[in-house]
């Protein structure tokens, strides 16, 4: 049954939905019965703007395996991306 267990993450950034871009300050993360995905249970993330009190959200429902794969890819992208941009900054510094 649906548990209402919810992990809340404070975030900074934007998300794009059908109505265009919106600021987001919170990600509500849960693992429960999905609304749309044809899975018994799904990892759901709702990106919302709590501070604005907006009813809008950008939502995903993905399998547990997908979620773990995504977490690994997020960390990998951060690691390689931050390293690349650090090099870029150093290069810029050389010419400044």
């Amino acid at each position: 049954m649906c548990t209402y267990i919810n992990e809340k993450a404070s975030i900074t950034g934007s998300a794009k939905g059908p109505d265009g871009w919106m600021n987001v300050d919170t990600a509500n993360v849960y693992f429960d019965h999905p609304y749309h995905a044809q899975l018994d249970h799904a990892l759901g993330i709702d990106f919302v703007d709590e501070a604005a009190g907006s009813p809008k959200r950008v939502a995903v429902e993905i399998s547990a395996e997908s979620a773990r794969h995504l977490v690994a890819k997020i960390l990998a992208a951060l690691e390689s991306g931050e390293a690349a941009h650090a090099t870029e900054t150093e290069s810029v510094d050389q010419y400044s």
């Binding site: 049954m1 649906c2 209402y4 267990i5 919810n6 429960d32 609304y35 709702d46 009813p55």
Partner: protein, 250 residues
């Protein structure tokens, strides 16, 4: 006996704390008195499935009402409203009890009400069904469809909004209960169902439990991959038989 002529639509009734609560209602278009059913929606919200269930009961001779337990958190698409309710920790138990009691009174206040009222709920609504069957006086029959966390193993699941496991109210249960469960469900799992049955037995309560092999959670939801047609057909037959015996007889 079934009724092809129906009337239905959205209504408002007075719920918990005197709040106006919207609801979907459907009833057979006949002159005689009919019993009522309160339909408690599942956690994903007051959605199309909930309206379909409400119309199904009307088709079988009941005035049915499905209160929008998230009415204070709308407006919006059911899934978006449900997401807001989840983020807030779910609908509080005392609010649900007040809203279902209000829906029951609304049914009894209709001119063609026979006076008998049952309740049915799915998923979290199954849990809420057990809760209201214990706490709302005047219900005549309750159908718990795979309600999880009626028996609570993990104390962290007891929150300010849901402070007490419904099983702990069993001594206050005053109406017969029909329970429908899939043996492949993980919440409630077969052990939860067995332990709930033991408590009902210990308290001498009237109940009927049916456990289905090859079925998991929400096996009656036709729009999900885990729909199980044979088990769902049998379960609907059991619901209508149970209500027929408890709501349509004098």
């Amino acid at each position: 006996m079934t009724y092809e002529g129906l009337s239905g639509g959205e209504v408002e009734f007075t719920g918990f704390n005197g709040d106006d609560v919207n609801a979907y209602q459907a009833r057979p278009a006949i002159d005689g008195k009919v019993p009522g059913v309160v339909v408690i929606h599942h956690a994903p919200g007051w959605d199309e499935w909930c309206a379909e269930v409400t119309r199904k009961f009307a088709h079988h001779g009941y005035a049915a009402i499905a209160p929008n337990l998230y009415s204070r958190d709308g407006p919006g698409a059911p899934d978006d409203v449900a997401a807001r309710v989840r983020a807030a920790g779910g609908a509080p138990d005392n609010q649900v009890v007040g809203d279902v009691a209000g829906a029951m009174e609304w049914l009894r206040g209709q001119s063609n009400a026979s006076g008998k009222v049952g309740v049915i709920g799915f998923c979290s609504g199954g849990r809420q069904t057990y809760l209201v069957a214990c706490l709302v006086k005047g219900l005549d029959a309750a159908v718990d469809c795979w309600g999880g966390n009626v028996v609570v193993d993990d104390p962290s699941l007891l929150t300010e909004r849901r402070p007490i496991a419904p099983v702990d109210y069993t001594n206050q249960l005053t109406c017969p209960v029909l329970g429908l469960f899939g043996n492949d469900d993980t919440n409630p799992n077969p052990d939860h169902v067995n332990r709930l049955e033991e408590v009902l037995k210990d308290h001498g309560k009237t109940y009927e439990f049916h456990r289905y092999d090859g079925a998991g959670h929400a096996f009656m939801s036709w729009y999900r991959r885990h729909y199980r047609v044979d088990q769902a057909i049998d379960a609907w037959d059991k619901v209508l038989d149970f209500y027929g015996r408890n709501l349509k007889t004098a």
